[in-house]
Amino acid sequence: MDKKVQLSGKFKIAMIILIVVGLISVAIGFITEDGKRAWANLLLNNYYFLSIALGATFWLAIQYVTQSGWSTAYIRVPMAMSNYFIISFALFAIMFLGVHDLYHWSHPEAVALDPVLQHKAPYLNIPFFAIRFFIFFVLWIFLTWRIKKLSLQEDKIGGTELFKKLEMTSKIFIFVFAVSFSLFTIDWLMSLDAHWYSTIYVVKKFIMAFFHGASVITAIVIILNKLGYFPMLTKKHLHDFSRYIWALSLIWGYMWLSQYILIWYANIPEETVYYIPREMGEYKALFYTELIMNWTFPFFFLMWNRIAKSANWLLFTVSVLIIGQWVELYMSIMPNTIDSHGISFVEVGTFIGSMGLFALIVGISLSKIPSVPMKHPYLIESTTHDH
């Protein structure tokens, strides 16, 4: 049961091919278009996989803080996903080359003519932007490194002393994550349109990260179970995983409505400017697709008990949600950045490449650590979980 995940050579080669496809499509994006589109796509995909890794780590921290027993056998999956932060740090660092292509507020000549941007300049300027970015990533990498270190130490020693330390670190992570991810979202996504702001925007992205992080954990656990790992996985565990997805889809829909209905109701031009191109313009179809994929479909689909306990149907749901999150971020980023809309080779290729990179990093990280924390105090509760 405590065996490590073996990565097949085929998997590695397939993922490297995907990464190469991604690199080629980014290069094509830079050559054929004006650069904006490639940068926007890089931002989308970097943010996408960072939010999944962060959401998964948040999920892990929740398990420690609530002292959940059922999930203990699977906590190594989010731990492996948190290794992606270092890669994400490098990828976001490259994004600094494209800051002028993406962010209007980064041009001093534009700020000079614009009183709103002048007002926001003490916060929205490139040096402070870079400092914040650096601090956030250092905090995330340090805290997840500490969680992983303590958990691996626990494999040797056991006992409850380390569990208490892990619980404390998880509490700190939850607090840090709530503040830092909100500010990070304001920096990288909301400031694409520096004139517009919404107080619920970051809450929605926070829920999105948790929602899709939990979905991807479920998918990885099910796939590994099909490959012969996690023999303890039962319908009860699947039901608990799907409860997470179902409940979070409801909260996501609630946040979507909270943002939309307040802006719709108040009908102030400074606020409705966000929704006019999205709901009425060329993005109309994707606007409703986003809601249907992320809320309507999982909410009504997972309501059926039989589907909520079936590994194959859960995999299907998660694959819809993976595209759903992409659509959500596309709707957040693209109307403010690219000039000509549409989904082309650049969009698909960049996503495929990033997904290959993410899968490769998570796979390698999982193969380095034992797949089950053998001396975790709640392990028996997890393996005999039957309600």
Binding site: W264, D386, H387
Partner: protein
């Protein structure tokens, strides 16, 4: 008057073990009383409930009824334009959302109370009052055609699995 055999236990795990042993021996466990909810019991005794489905129906009906109420009041009976919004408007959703939850919860609670024949001030009919304190009780129905061999078998299984007492009770409680 029907009588029940009661196996009184001190420990939750003994109860779980006893249920398995009794069912292996072909003895039907009628009921289990416990000071706190035991989720495992659900599967072990093959219990079923239609209450979640009833909640779904109440919620669906409640949502539609709320929409009908809002539509009738603000579109048909007293159409009043405000804020340039259409009469049949998106702000219905908030009231529909809240009233769906309210109607679903209240009617589910009512259904539960009616089905369990509960009402405020009702006196508890328990086969053993100590189950609200620190004891667990397994209830086995004593049929009239049970011979003494069967009864001794039931009692021996109960004692083997750690019952601290074996009683008989003719309290007619509502299952």
């Amino acid at each position: 008057m029907k009588t029940n055999i009661l196996g009184v236990y001190d420990d939750e795990n003994d109860v779980m073990h006893a249920i398995d042993k009794l069912q292996e021996g072909g003895i039907k466990v009628k009921d289990v009383f416990s000071p706190f909810p035991l989720h495992h019991i659900w599967d072990k005794l093959n219990l079923t409930t239609r209450l979640p489905f009833a909640t779904f129906i109440y919620g669906a009906v409640g949502g539609i009824a709320t929409f009908a109420l809002l539509y009738w009041t603000s579109v048909i009976n007293y159409p009043l334009k405000f804020g340039g919004k259409p009469l049949n408007t998106l702000s219905f959703i908030i009231i529909m959302f809240v009233l769906t939850i309210l109607i679903g919860t209240v009617f589910t609670a009512l259904t539960f109370f009616i089905r369990q024949k509960l009402y405020p001030g009702k006196e508890a009919t328990l086969p053993d009052v100590r189950t609200v304190d620190d004891k667990f009780v397994i209830v086995i129905e004593k049929d009239e055609d049970m011979d003494s061999a069967e009864l001794t078998k039931i009692k021996s299984v109960l004692i083997e699995t750690g019952a601290v007492e074996i009683n008989e009770s003719d309290v007619d409680y509502e299952a």
